[in-house]
């Protein structure tokens, strides 16, 4: 049996978790899911639809909010009870973190961000390195495989037929050491004008070629017109031209909009790592040899300070503004 950790926020499922369930179903008929905390019970129907036969609800009076060390403890106890062949989660910050706690507590290896998994003795995995610019074939020497699934390597798929997950409550024992870290408050991320980078359908992104903080006014105007938001490269945030919340890339945000306009960005692989899942990439760059051309769908060779205002004007005219 494969046990899949489903992440949720006070009962609201992290949809990326469904990718881990789908990956598990491709490896085994026997897939069960686990949520940490009573509030997670509400995901039973959806995890059933995605093929989990049982939803284990790890329950404890103190497990009311996200506490990674306590989650780890709960998972270790459930693993001891169920003896699955693998524990999987999606390779999100939370998935990676909770499974790392489990692996540490059990003194086992953990393979993060796997795009392929083959059970064996040892297990083999293919895992992402350098924000998926490189892949590593690796062997995992342990009976229980603890691994996170590279989110964008698998699309979520509903299980065939009528499926329903049976809910089973599992009582957890925690020590005070598991609860030393406390959540004081939480809230949603608010982006510019309410559109967050991660959810935006259109992103107008600028790099060193924008030349300075003032240059971003034209990008903002275009982004507003397209009901999108502004992104940028690391050169821009390091220079303090834009806030870090707008940085796209390996150490910034990973985005997947319908349209990503990259203006004055060369296309370093650490930047591409954050935008390559965009449906359409349009590049505006003075250099026809810029590496970003290889990832772009469409390109205009030219100065962004001319192209962007001209594009804004053309769209305004079209919209009759």
């Amino acid at each position: 049996m494969i046990l899949v950790l489903i992440d949720h926020d006070l009962g609201e499922i992290d949809p990326l978790s469904l990718r881990a369930l789908t990956a598990a179903r491709k490896l085994s008929e026997e897939v069960e899911a686990v949520v940490i905390g009573e509030a997670g019970r509400s995901v039973a129907d959806i995890v059933g639809n995605y093929g989990a036969k049982v939803l284990h609800v790890a329950t404890h009076a103190e497990l009311t909010d996200y506490t990674p060390a306590a989650s780890g403890r709960a998972l270790v106890q459930l693993i001891e009870k169920l003896a699955p062949q693998a524990l999987l989660a999606v390779g999100s910050p939370r998935g990676n973190e909770q499974l790392a706690h489990v692996a540490t507590m059990m003194d086992l290896p953990m393979a993060s961000e796997c795009s392929e998994i083959t059970f064996g003795k040892p297990h083999s995995v293919v895992r992402a390195r350098w924000a998926a610019n490189l892949f590593e074939d690796a062997l995992v020497h342990s009976d229980l495989l603890i691994a996170t699934v590279l989110a964008f390597s698998v699309e979520p798929e509903l299980a065939p037929g009528e499926t329903k997950a049976k809910v089973e409550v599992f009582m957890v024992e925690l020590s005070s050491a598991d609860l030393r870290v406390k959540v004081l408050s939480r809230g949603g991320d608010t982006g510019r004008g309410g559109v967050t980078l991660a959810d935006a359908k259109v992103i107008v992104s600028g790099g060193r070629g924008v030349g300075g903080p003032e240059g971003f006014a034209a990008l903002e105007e275009l982004a507003d017109l397209l009901e999108g938001t502004v992104g940028c490269s690391r050169v821009v945030t390091s220079a303090g031209w834009r806030p870090h919340a707008e940085q796209v890339g390996q150490t910034g945000t990973k985005v997947a909009p319908d349209l990503y306009i990259a203006a004055g960005i060369s296309g370093a692989m650490q930047h591409i790592a954050g935008c390559k899942n965009s449906k359409n990439i349009v590049v505006i760059n003075t250099d026809p040899e810029a590496p970003i051309m290889a990832y772009a769908d469409y390109a205009i060779i030219g100065d962004l300070h001319q192209v962007i205002p001209a594009l804004t004007a053309a769209i305004k005219e079209m919209k009759g503004k």
Binding site: A245, Y298, L311
Partner: protein, 252 residues
């Protein structure tokens, strides 16, 4: 306040990596080296803390002899001293790396109030060295921190997970892992560089361990497009772009 920062020497490349002929390593003949942006932020945070509160900032790395380069450049920013746990240059798996770093930390006379890490390493991105070290030292850990305040033996940290922003609180001593954007790391000054040359670096030999997560080979990710369709030059290409935006459903 005694602060420790763990950092890792990694090769830096612009648009793509080349591999060695046997595909087990990155070909680094023509590459420079550095550390992850996350770890640069960790060092900057450590320097700011000892500037405000006094104390010392120690750097720790497991890596080849050449990792002295990365230690020196971070010492130039304001760290006090460094420890290099020296390998022969081969990759160490996460459990072995964490165990060797724990050994080095336990051998220190200093009790660290705060151990800072990058959220993940740039090259291997295992998301785990810090968690393993926190457990081995019996310390609480907060990961993915974007801003923090430290006062009266308590750290208040804002962390990101998905789209939610959360404020976490942990008593010190603790392990905190930080993200790019925590601060803007300063550039080393000329006097800083000169002082760094004289700052002490302890060299240690770690006990080798059999890898449980064993690297077999590397491959380059395939690039997903055939290259751009060039719409034209300068503002003259704008009408063509408007047509594209209509075709892909962005403009009605």
């Amino acid at each position: 306040m005694n602060v420790l920062v763990c950092l890792k020497r990694v090769p830096l490349a612009g648009s793509t990596f080349l591999l060695t002929p046997d595909s087990t390593e990155i070909d680094t003949k023509h590459l420079g080296f550095g550390i992850s942006p996350h770890e640069e932020n960790a060092v900057e945070a450590g320097v700011q803390l000892i500037e405000q509160m006094g104390g010392a900032l120690t750097l720790l790395t497991l890596g080849p002899t050449e990792a002295e380069e990365q230690l020196r450049s971070q010492l130039a920013i304001g760290a006090s001293r460094a420890i290099l746990v020296e390998t022969e240059g081969e990759d160490w798996d996460p459990q072995a790396t964490a165990a060797a770093l724990v050994e080095a930390i336990k051998a220190e006379e200093t009790q660290f109030d705060l151990l800072l890490f990058g959220a993940e390493s740039a090259d291997s991105a295992g998301y785990q060295i810090h968690i393993r070290i926190a457990h081995a030292l019996g310390l609480p850990i907060v990961t993915n921190v974007k801003s923090m305040k430290i006062a009266n033996g308590i750290a208040e940290c804002e962390r990101v997970a998905g789209t939610s922003r959360e404020i976490y609180q942990t008593p010190l001593p603790a392990v905190i892992t930080v993200r790019d954007g925590l601060n803007i790391p300063r550039y080393p000054s000329v006097p800083g560089r000169i002082q760094a040359r004289k700052k002490p670096i302890d060299h240690k030999k770690p006990t080798p361990r059999v890898p449980k997560l064993e690297k077999v080979s590397l491959s380059i990710a395939p690039s997903n497009t055939a290259g751009a369709q060039i719409l034209g030059k300068g503002a003259e290409a704008v009408p063509a772009l408007v047509e594209v935006l209509k075709a892909i459903g962005i403009l009605a």
